[in-house]
Symmetry: C2
């Protein structure tokens, strides 16, 4: 059997307090493991919080990966509990600082993803990655990673799927979106739903709660199946949550490619798409 | 002032009865015009219905564009009412048959779009287009067109936006999607919402109701603003609907590019995306 339990852990990391974050995340990963989880996704910037004042502040709270205190604690936990962890981390690498996520397995560090689309003031805090969307092969299936604002770009889901990913793990710190109506699900949730459906890809969008330096976060973590429908969540916007969903990354591959109602990957028309940079101005090919 | 009223007209075209479809669509376009509409979007295959038995049946119900009976009737209406119409039509062109949509202005035919992504049995009924997503320059703004299943491909919205479109008009015949939960909006609506938000583009997703040859259609037409939130609709799944929304395609351009919370077009990372055809198999760039 290739199915297993995937967990999403929504909690409230504390700015500048890695020890508190190790304690809270470990407590919740243990809870997920007690529920049978083999893969656990934590929020963005779960090591040291998010709202750094400036680049120097971000650097002060960054750690090398692997080997830093928080990722080492997660590696010890993954080994002890025999599971995989994807978690947001502030990474220091050769003098550069990245908004990153680690993939850690029972045998240790397995990969690092660095946020591709830096949001808002992040452009001043972090270095720009050049690695795109690596796909990590694991015994549970092929895992790609995005972080928060990456989900606002359908190219993130597409790049993951075209690279052979079965799951996009999406550690996030979702914030309120202007104009959000009460009767429409959170835009972040909709990005996960349509991204999953268009790519026949599992998506684990795991966000945080609480407020840091006047920036509120909205929670709403969810796990979405490859047809786009939620398997667990969305969680509420207030508290901790351990979402559990039974998934089958490897066993569902054939079915995901062969839905009789649509084959969103095979039906693409790469011969006619525009894919370049956006250039404001008169319309291209206008009539 | 560059704002105007955009209308979406949900109705029930009749299979094989162009005269009935001219009558019903004209009645509803007049109703939209009475509400002030300057641009009216009708469903997919509004000229002769949709569930053709085979390619010969589709061809029998196709008409040349411009000059065929239905598009000529719409052109007369557009001239009389001084408005623009986007409507799905079964097009006969040089021996080929297309699932198409016409753009008609007060001065007549202004453009034709042919569905880029043929859904399901459509691959056997229609010819394949090679034109991509043209952007039509009008006094109301720049208009791109997609048809139904095209919205399942984020490249449709992206190609429209990168081509300079302000609006994606999306004549559709939306059908039930397997597994649709009661507490999540229709997947088609979510595609419009996320496609609009990711591209800062207006989207008019206009669908039909009724059943043809055992195929039910779900209605749910809606008009979405460039922030992704619905301006009108979604309509229900049963009856006719004339949706009206005040929009400003031209006047909103600067604002759409410069939302302080995100600049989804400028922030793209075209240097790291995968954009090619999907090749099932071992993951690319796996670690």
């Amino acid at each position: 059997m290739t199915d297993f339990i995937l967990a999403g852990i929504q909690f409230e990391p504390v700015l500048g307090d890695p020890a508190a974050n190790i304690a809270a995340s470990s407590r919740l990963v243990r809870e997920a493991a007690a529920g049978g989880a083999r893969l656990v996704v934590l929020p963005e910037a779960a090591s040291a919080g998010y709202m750094f004042a400036d680049r120097a502040d971000a650097r002060r709270h960054a750690e090398p990966v692997p080997g830093g205190p928080v990722s080492s604690a997660w590696a010890a936990l993954a080994a002890e509990l025999d599971l995989w962890i994807v978690a947001g981390i502030t990474e220091l690498a050769g003098g550069k600082v990245y908004n990153a996520a680690v993939l850690i397995g029972p045998e240790g560090h397995a990969g690092t993803f660095r946020k591709a689309h830096l949001w808002n003031a992040e452009k001043e805090l972090y270095d720009r990655q050049e690695d795109g969307f690596p796909v990590f092969r694991t015994p549970l299936g092929n895992i790609a990673v995005g972080i928060c604002y990456d989900a606002w770009f359908p190219e993130t889901f597409r790049s993951a799927a075209l690279g052979g990913a079965d799951l996009l793990a999406l550690p996030s710190n979702w914030v309120p979106v202007p104009g959000q109506p009460d009767d429409v699900p959170a835009m972040a949730n909709l990005m996960c739903i349509t991204g999953a459906h268009s790519n026949q890809l599992y998506v684990a969008g795991v966000s945080r709660v609480g407020t840091e330096r006047d920036q509120p976060f909205v929670g709403r973590s969810l796990i979405v199946g490859p047809d786009g429908w939620p398997l667990a969540g969305p969680a509420d916007g207030e508290g901790e949550a351990v979402l559990l969903a039974r998934v089958d990354l490897i066993g569902s591959r054939a079915q995901r490619l062969g839905n009789p109602f649509n084959q969103p990957l095979a039906d693409r028309r790469t011969d006619v798409y525009r894919t370049g940079d956006f250039r404001p101005g008169p319309p291209e090919g206008a009539v």
